[in-house]
Each structure stands twice: as structure tokens, then as C-alpha cells.
Point group: C2
Chain length 183, copies 2
């Protein structure tokens, strides 16, 4: 009898899809100059009136439809898919119009992941999985499995979780896990 495959939950924004990149494009278009995500978080731009206004773009239909894929994400998710049960878990619920866009984005870029394995939620404590890869500490804190922190400008000082800086490090981490599981 085969052992059931372990389950990995993957966050979308700034883990699979480069939301920050598009947001900074939007910032540049509106403000006339480009900033970095580090500058953005160091200066808590979302709390300023300007930041609040710019954040409205996240509510617009189409905003999430054409985000770039993060480097090496496609190849590594294809590899993970051979060894694990993969669920996509995005806290999309705040943004009413993002959901059809995100579902289309998955179908376009990751057609091998069936819609039945996609989850749009808010509070990720409802998710039952063995691993969660996420850039937001709040999601990892309530997660009962092994939380893996995907590096982002807003989490550089966080020390409580295994950190994965990019998708090649995701692959290396799970190569290690598969070896441990096999031994």
C-alpha cells in the first residue's frame, strides 16, 4: 500500500505571482518615480493617505490577471507536483474582483493544477496541510503544519520560521524532506 502523499499549501501573491512588481509599476505610473519594496515597507506607505489611495488598484477587475510568475516557480511547482499533493491557498477574499482573475491566472500558467486544489480564503487557520509556504508571518503563526517563510521585503527580520529565499531553495528544502521521509 502506498503512503498518501504529504500536502503542501502554496500562497500565490509574492510567492508564485509577483504582485509587488506590478504594484511598484502602478506606484511609478501614479507618482512619476520608482521605489523599492524595502522603501515601501520601511516607510509604511500603506498607512499614508497616498498609499491607501494607491492600494485601491487591488480591488480593480484585471489587476491580478497579468502578474508575472516568480523566478523558477513554474519548474519547481511542476517538480513538487510529482511528489506531493499541491493546494494553492490565496487570501483573496478581501478583493472581490481578484478571484476570477486569480483562477484564470492559475489555469493559464499552471494548467496541471486542477481547480479543485485551489482555495481562496481570508484567515488561513482553516487550512489543513503538512506544509505552508507563505510570505506573511500571520498566516504561518496559526498554521498547524510546518510553516515555511518565503522571503519578502516585509519579513526580513523574522526569525521564527524556516526561511526560503527563492524557488530554488524551495526545491532544495523538499529534496531534503523527501530524503528524510524515505530513510
Amino acid at each position: 500500500m502506498n503512503t498518501p502523499r504529504k500536502r503542501i499549501a502554496l500562497d500565490m501573491d509574492d510567492v508564485m505571482a509577483n504582485l509587488s512588481h506590478k504594484f511598484l509599476d502602478h506606484y511609478e505610473k501614479e507618482k512619476g518615480h520608482r521605489i523599492t519594496m524595502k522603501y515601501f515597507w520601511d516607510n509604511d506607505i500603506y498607512s499614508t493617505p497616498d498609499g491607501k489611495r494607491l492600494r485601491q488598484c487591488l480591488f480593480e477587475p484585471g489587476f491580478f490577471a497579468d502578474l508575472p510568475i516568480m523566478d523558477n516557480c513554474l519548474e519547481v511547482v511542476q517538480w513538487l507536483y510529482k511528489h506531493y499533493e499541491i493546494f494553492i491557498v490565496s487570501a483573496a477574499m478581501e478583493f472581490r474582483n481578484s478571484m476570477p482573475d486569480k483562477r484564470d491566472w492559475m489555469e493559464k500558467h499552471f494548467p496541471f493544477i486542477h481547480w479543485s486544489n485551489i482555495v481562496f480564503c481570508g484567515d488561513k487557520s482553516i487550512i489543513d496541510a503538512d506544509y505552508l509556504i507563505d510570505d506573511h508571518v500571520k498566516n504561518l503563526i496559526t498554521f498547524k503544519g510546518k510553516g515555511l517563510l518565503f522571503s519578502a521585503a516585509h519579513n526580513t527580520n523574522e526569525k521564527r520560521f524556516t526561511r526560503l529565499n527563492n524557488w530554488l531553495e524551495v526545491k532544495a528544502f523538499f529534496e531534503g524532506e523527501l530524503k528524510k521521509d524515505a530513510s
Copy 2:
């Protein structure tokens, strides 16, 4: 120290929202005569070419926006909300356009339930909760908590789960659970 509240996951279609009622309206409009859900399931209408064509309505924007609320659902969910952590868990992912409609429907009819407690998914085995109220046996089979079968025309012969015929029976069931938990 307070014990954390137990968590109930509630299905939407044909548990909170009367999808069958609207579907039968649609059937009548297209075919010129009304049928019952019992007739619909007994004759496996979804497998017929006609049924497949009629089912396309589920993919249309707006179809899920104006479903009637099931009898006594609002009052009982308001009551449950005082005693339990409530999550809404709908297998909406097949229907791309249903998601904004379903989110709006929740905001309109159940504004006390925050968007962070709404989940749209496909395979409900990802859900971590103490109870799941659902009309589909496939969702209860993979659920690790206590599965509660909400009666519908397609599940009348099912015997494996505690059956709740309507929202008044939901209330009575949880009154019993609260008494047990308190003793």
C-alpha cells in the same frame, strides 16, 4: 482562561442559499414546465444533453447573486455565531463567475460574518474545522471533524452521517452539543 470556541464550517448552496429553487425556475423557463428536485435527481437530468446545457447557467455572472435564503437559516446562523467560530465554505471554484456573486451575497445577507471567514474551494478535505454542515456526501467523507448531512433530494438514502433536515434541526443539534460541552 476561556476555552477557544469550536469551529463550524457551513456549506452555502442548498444549505444556506436555495440554489435548487433558482435552478428549477431556470429549468421551467427553458422547458415550459416545472419539475421537482426529486424528479431531477431520480432521472439523473445532469447527465442528459439537456441537463448539461441547462447546467451552463451556473457559469453565468449573476446566477448566484440573488438566491433565496433557506428557511430559518439567518436566525440560526446568528444564534450559532454567538457560540461558535463560523466559517462559510463553498465549493465555488468550478464556477469562475460565481465567486464575486457569492461574496456579495454573504455581505448582503450575513454582514456579521467577516470576509476573512469565507472560503471558496473545490476539494473540502483541506478544511480544518470541528463540524461541517453540507448536503454533499463526498465532502463529509473526507472531513476529519464531525460531518452533518443537510437533507437534499440527492442524499435521501444516505445513512452514514447525522442528518439535519432543516435549520431548526441544526439549532436543536447544537443546543445539545453545547449542553454536552458544558457538562
